[in-house]
């Protein structure tokens, strides 16, 4: 059987094909046509495509090239290998969004020069003293960050009930646990022992010494909500 042969080349079918066309290709009845046309008049002409167009080969090539250029360019910029003006421009551009890459001033060695500056300096022993050494390029989360200025985590100079300096807190290790009513931010402290004293802004200055005083001596503090807390004597 010849697959390429048109079966309708068979002369026996010619007449049958003509009859089929004459029998089936007929105009619709007037009623049917009117019904169809009425429905078409009520139908808006749409522009919905049958299917999404497939991207052409050229479009795919351009997209691939752009991806490659951006990817390789990004890697080169991160390594500081771009030409200096371009590197500086890219560095400034991405620096806006917080991404640091070499700016090219170091001749491609910017990464090696800047990395030590990003390492946090050794915390000073005394919190109030200025940190030794060169100024920090990137202070990070802030000067008041724990470990940066010697401040004890969880404590603030402005904490309620405290009027002393942070340096005074270094003398408190001998205070017995559970009796330092001013240290209101210690999580291990039971509720009620700190709230009445530590949270009172009008607490008398004498409370400065509260950390070294036994619990009964702190009874001078105004009775607060925590005065009835366990472990406290009125």
């Amino acid at each position: 059987v010849d697959d390429d042969r048109d079966p309708f080349d068979d002369p026996r079918l010619t007449e049958a094909v003509d009859d089929l066309r004459a029998a089936f290709l007929t105009a619709p009845d007037d009623d049917v046509a009117r019904r169809h046309l009425d429905r078409l008049r009520a139908t808006p002409v749409g522009v919905v495509p049958l299917r999404r167009r497939r991207p052409t080969v050229a479009a795919a090539a351009v997209a691939g090239l752009a991806t490659a250029v951006l990817g390789l360019g990004g890697v080169a910029a991160a390594n500081g290998s771009l030409p200096r003006p371009l590197q500086a421009g890219v560095s400034a551009l991405v620096g806006v969004v917080g991404i640091e890459i070499p700016d090219g001033d170091g001749g491609g060695e910017g990464v090696g020069e800047r990395e030590p500056a990003e390492v946090p300096p050794v915390p000073p022993v005394l919190p109030d003293l200025p940190a030794p050494g060169p100024p920090v390029v990137d202070p990070g989360p802030g000067e008041g960050a724990p470990g940066r200025d010697g401040e004890i985590p969880g404590r603030e100079d402005t904490a309620p009930g405290r009027t002393g300096t942070a340096g005074e807190t270094t003398n408190q290790p001998e205070a017995p646990p559970g009796q330092t009513g001013d240290v209101g931010n210690k999580p291990e402290e039971p509720p009620g022992q700190t709230g009445d004293v530590g949270n009172k802004p009008e607490a008398p200055p004498g409370l400065d010494r509260a950390p070294t005083s036994p619990p009964p001596s702190s009874g001078g503090a105004p009775a607060g909500p925590g005065s009835a807390a366990p472990g406290r004597n009125e």
């Binding site: 059987v1 697959d3 390429d4 048109d6 079966p7 309708f8 068979d10 026996r12 079918l13 007449e15 049958a16 094909v17 003509d18 009859d19 089929l20 066309r21 004459a22 029998a23 089936f24 290709l25 007929t26 105009a27 619709p28 009845d29 049917v32 046509a33 019904r35 169809h36 046309l37 429905r39 078409l40 008049r41 139908t43 808006p44 002409v45 749409g46 522009v47 919905v48 495509p49 049958l50």
Partner: protein
């Protein structure tokens, strides 16, 4: 066939001109309805109405000449017909609709009636009814729309080789029916020396 003014008519129809839409409808309605009827679609006029609504809904995105437009419209028709068959979960129309096709002779003009009568007498309608759905769908695209194999394959979503096989078997069935009518004493016919 609209012919030379088709681009202007199409542009007007795409702009919402109802006269242009009606002109296109009058031109293609016999093809759409006839194709559905010949494939034993249930309620061919109602199905055709859905086809035309779908056509109008997508008309704005169509680009091409009249030949391509007819092929595009037949694609919609074919898919709508397949959807209808799938929804109903049955063959297009059972039982064999030879009588149903013949009954329509009453509504046809003289020439159309004569053609249908000849088809019945010569067993062509029976032969078409005996085809598979795919064979009939391909055969009628070839016969009624005079489409080449390539476009039939695209409309039906089948390989060209498969469509050629469908057309060959469908054409052979019709040819055998004609041979039986020409040589009633020869069972099977078609192989006479």
């Amino acid at each position: 066939v609209i012919g030379e003014p088709f681009p202007e008519v199409l542009a007007a129809a795409q702009a919402g001109d109802h006269e242009a839409i009606e002109r296109i409808y009058r031109d293609v309605a016999p093809l759409v309805i006839g194709y559905l009827r010949s494939n034993r679609a249930r309620d061919p006029e109602d199905t055709a109405s859905e086809v035309f609504v779908s056509m109008l809904g997508q008309l704005g995105s169509f680009t091409g000449d009249e030949h391509r437009f007819r092929s595009w419209l037949l694609t919609i028709t074919y898919r709508r017909m397949i959807d209808q068959v799938r929804r109903s979960g049955r063959r297009p129309e059972d039982p064999t609709p030879t009588d149903d096709l013949g009954r329509r002779v009453l509504d046809l003009t003289d020439s159309e009636s004569e053609a249908m009568s000849r088809l019945r007498v010569r067993g062509v309608l029976d032969a078409i009814d005996g085809l598979t759905d795919d064979q009939r769908a391909a055969l009628m695209l070839r016969v009624l729309a005079d489409l080449p194999v390539k476009e039939i394959a695209r409309i039906m979503g089948k390989p060209e080789t498969a469509v050629k096989a469908l057309l060959r078997r469908g054409g052979a069935s019709v040819a055998r029916a004609l041979d039986r009518e020409d040589h009633p004493g020869r069972p099977g016919g078609g192989t006479a020396p």
